[in-house]
Amino acid sequence: MSTVKLTVNGKAVAVDVEDRTLLVHLLRDHLNLTGTHVGCDTSQCGACVVHIDGRAVKSCTMLAGQADGADVTTIEGIAKGDELHPMQAAFRDNHGLQCGYCTPGMIMSAIDIVHRYGGQLDEATVRHELEGNICRCTGYHNIVKAVLDAAGRMKVAQAAE
């Protein structure tokens, strides 16, 4: 057992976990942040993507101990109160989700994509960048639309800040 100290969604936490515990299980089982999902166990599907120090990471690929000292943001931590993150709003407005299971990971990956490209995105780039996130419901059509829509919204929001 080890104590892992980290910041999750802005809150400092210390959690005692078995050394083999994956970050995703620390989040789900110890902190009850069940929005982060497990879909494949082989780091293919991306349902478990969270942000670690601002970058998208598959939380099933990382031991909880490796996140010691890190700043972790999950799907539960991106809205500001009742105000949705522009990516969340874009997924809803573009019907970018159906069963919702891949959605948290999609949204977390997509935010990272927009950040990395500074909003300079086109359809082909979005499709290529979503390689690590699998959705079985939407055929990606509306997810791609949502990410492009959000890229515009995030640019506007950034300009306003």
Binding site: E18, T34, V38, T42, Q44, C45, G100, Y101, G139, Y140
Partner: protein, 780 residues
């Protein structure tokens, strides 16, 4: 239609919880004192279980119990059933081998459970499972149908000699033989429909909780049809009587058919919960999903089509071997028979059809309904056949289809189905226009000049949905009726709860079902909530599959709404001192037509519950129930056209354009309908280009993770161009046909027709991987 009524693309009410991480899936639920199950599964495709030694495991930390197949059989938990009886051509019933929830003596596919460890945590259960020693005696195994039916093949079940479950026929063989005797041309086709793994993104999971004081079980499970699960668990598996078993299917992360069935893991969790006296949770991992979720498709078919001198089809004969895997899953028997062969007429006038379907056991994961269930196999066969025929007869493939389209409705096919309505020319016109079919030769020439092979492929599908008229399916062997139920509860303040037997696992019922209410009463959808997925809350219902939730489920709601409105009108008329016949419902008010007298709907609801001033003899309250049994199947149909390029050097396919023109009858929420089509197309394209659940000759699965099984990714797919042509379904009052499976049914033939057009060779199996395409291009 109003901003929230029928026909409006309302954003989904359910989305907020999913986009904020507040969805509640089975694995998100924790119960006090919960234990965790880990199954011990056979690594062999076929073996005797000679012994299980769990002594070391039982001494490990946190282990609560190790339970075996022998114990579950001794406790008289029932064997898994197949709920649709099929009769062979010789009149004999289908031949089924016994399927216990855990194998006491013989395992017949890799992944079949033989024992389960129950422990204080998931990790401790997994650790202990490593210490359970199972003594297997390997037996010869067989994985594909052609090998399984050969003399001397390994035999799976003593009940099914030759590994044959049934040899079933449909249609008039004499009429077909006569048509072929007179045929001007005969087109022959051999094809395989590749085995697929459904792969809903949420792995299956179950939590069973036994209350010894009440002798009552609660099961949280990833189900598309919780009431059917309760019925089967109660009536056939002896878990508990129905009133002592509550089944809850909360948020479910996709189903695609695979979550219709009641699986061994739910049965074991329930049984184990009583045995250990604590809640038991099992959450499958992805490899378990590959090994144990019912697979789809897996047909091997030979077909011949006869044409007269005018290129009119005169007859069709089909012989299909369907791989059922090692056991007959819940609805498996119906898939390659009544859901497949009854659609072999496609969109065409075919005077004579005969089909023979031989169901075969193999040492593989059981096969059952997966998105489309039989109808993709039929559509793929017919549309590959039409393309092959056009090439052989040297006519334009679209023109050959038009020559043979059914244009008069109703149309009785020779294989049971009576198509009620449709306009196949209209959908083909729309698709051809959308893709600029006329301009294709010029584009092909230009691509050729650029060194690319360009192809175009058409697929005109029809399917039977709205499953299904109970009397009709009962006469065909179904063990259940396929009606749907609804209850409309108006609360005293005028808010409304709709309790539906349908289940939403991505389809957006919480929005579309509210839209019907908004449309009829003029109340905002925020005032309406949909309750589903809990047998303690909702009256018995049949669940969601076969594109039935709108055509059947929503119609049940409509029927209940009509009863509510009728009573509400009486109350309003009484309050307004008017005639009931003069009451109209507009914008949330009950009005006396032609006057300014009106009473708001919440006031009607309140009046129903205060009961201070009701018409004489009227019962208080405003709540009605309806059970709706459809009168016919519905027949969604459409035309898909795919244009693509093949790189002759690598065999890689790139999409240029993919257009879909569907006729789903009335659309409640076009945005949601289009989402359903997108997802279906992705699965159809996935089948055509990427997906294949492969076994080696000894029954070892080669594709049991996302590392090996190619799921469609975003950059494997194009953006789709969708359009709709509409003929209203005459079979239900809303005119709905259903849209959930169309994409998966129609897409794969369009893709393969396009690739084979591009490369100029007709024989190409799915999935058309670059390797396979390259070999086909360069084959002698």
């Amino acid at each position: 239609m109003g901003v929230e009524g029928i026909g409006a693309s309302v954003v989904r009410k359910e989305d907020k919880r999913f986009i904020t991480g507040k969805g509640r899936y089975v694995d998100d639920i924790k119960l006090t004192g919960m234990t965790y199950a880990h199954f011990i599964r056979s690594p062999h495709a076929h073996a005797k279980v000679k012994g299980i030694d769990s002594s070391a495991a039982l001494k490990m930390p946190g282990v609560v119990a190790v339970l075996t197949g022998k114990q579950i059989v001794d406790d008289k938990v029932g064997n898994l059933i197949c709920g649709w009886a099929i009769t062979s051509k010789d009149g004999s019933p289908m031949k089924m081998g016994a399927w216990p929830a855990m194998a006491p003596e013989t395992v017949r596919f890799v992944g079949q459970a033989v024992a389960v460890v129950i422990a204080e945590s998931k990790n401790l259960a997994r650790d202990a499972a490593e210490a359970v020693v199972v003594d297997y005696e390997e037996l010869p195994a067989v994985a594909d149908v052609t090998a399984a039916i050969k003399a001397g093949a390994p035999q799976l079940h003593p009940e099914a000699p030759g590994n044959q479950v049934y040899d079933w026929v449909i249609g008039d063989e004499g009429a077909v033989d006569a048509a072929f005797a007179k045929a001007a041309n005969v087109v022959k086709l051999d094809l395989a429909n590749n085995r697929l793994a459904p792969n809903a993104m949420e792995p299956r999971a179950a939590i069973a909780d036994y209350d010894a004081a009440e002798e009552h079980f609660t099961l949280y499970t990833t189900s598309q049809n919780p009431h059917v699960a309760r019925l089967v668990l109660s009536a056939f598996y002896n878990i508990a009587p129905e009133h002592k078993l509550r089944v809850i299917a909360p948020d479910v992360g996709g189903g695609f058919g695979s979550k219709i069935f009641i699986y061994p893991e739910e049965m074991v969790a329930l049984w184990a919960s009583k045995k250990v006296g604590r809640p038991v949770k099992w959450t499958g991992d992805r490899t378990e999903a590959f090994l144990t979720d019912a697979h789809g498709r897996d047909h091997v078919t030979h077909a011949e089509m006869a044409f007269d001198t005018n290129n009119k089809i005169t007859g069709l004969k089909v012989k299909t071997y369907a791989n059922f895997g090692a056991y007959m899953s819940l609805f498996s028997s119906s898939v390659p028979t009544y859901l497949y062969a009854t659609l072999l007429s496609g969109q065409y006038n075919i005077p004579a059809i005969h089909a023979e379907v031989i169901g075969v056991y193999t040492n593989t994961t059981p096969v059952d309904a997966y998105r489309g269930a039989g109808r993709p196999e039929a559509s793929y066969l017919i549309e590959r056949m039409m393309e092959t025929a056009a090439r052989q007869l040297k006519v334009d493939p679209a023109a050959l289809r038009r020559t043979n389209f059914i244009t008069q409705f109703p149309h009785q096919t020779p294989v049971i189905m009576a198509y009620d309505t449709g306009d196949f020319n209209a959908s083909l016109d729309a698709a051809m226009k959308a893709i600029d079919y006329a301009g294709f030769p010029a584009r092909k020439a230009k691509a050729k000049a650029d060194g690319k092979l360009r192809g175009i492929g058409v697929s005109c599908y029809i399917e039977a949905c709205g499953i299904a008229p109970s009397k009709a399916v009962g006469s065909l062997g179904a063990g259940v009726g396929l009606w749907e139920s609804a209850e409309v509860r108006v609360n005293p303040v005028g808010t409304i709860e709709i309790l539906t037997g349908s289940h939403s696992h991505g389809q957006g019922h919480e929005t579309t079902f509210c839209q019907l209410v908004a449309d009829r009463l003029g109340v905002p959808i925020s005032q309406v909530s949909i309750v589903h997925g809990d047998t303690d809350k909702v009256q018995f219902g049949m669940g969601t599959y076969g594109s039935r939730s709108a055509a059947v489920g929503l119609t049940a709601i409509l029927k209940a709404m009509e009863k509510v409105e009728s009573k509400a009108k009486k109350i309003a008329a009484h309050a307004l001192e008017a005639s009931e016949a003069d009451i109209v419902i507009e914008n949330g008010e009950f009005k006396v037509t032609g006057t300014d007298k009106a009473i708001a709907f919440p006031m009607v609801a309140l009046a129903a519950y205060t009961a201070h001033n009701l018409p004489d003899g009227m019962e208080p309250g405003l709540k009605e129930t309806a059970f709706y049994d459809p009168t016919n199947f519905t027949f969604p149909a459409g035309a898909y056209i795919c244009e693509l390029e093949v790189d002759a050097g690598t065999g890689k396919t790139s999409f240029v354009n993919f257009v879909a023109a569907d006729d789903f009858g009335r659309l409640i929420n076009p945005m949601i309908v289009e989402g359903q089509v997108h997802g279906g197309l992705a699965q159809g394209i996935g089948q055509a280009l990427l997906e294949h659940a492969i076994y080696d000759a000894n029954g070892q699965p080669v594709t049991a993770s996302f590392m090996d099984y190619t799921m469609p990714r975003a950059d494997d797919l194009p953006s789709f161009k969708l359009s709709h042509t509409t003929t209203l379904c005459p079979g239900n009052p809303l005119g709905i046909k259903g849209c959930g499976e169309a994409g998966a049914i129609g897409a794969s033939a369009a893709v393969i027709n396009a690739i084979t057009d591009a490369i100029g060779k007709n024989n190409l199996e799915m999935p058309a991987t670059p390797d396979r395409v390259w070999r086909t291009i360069h084959a002698a």
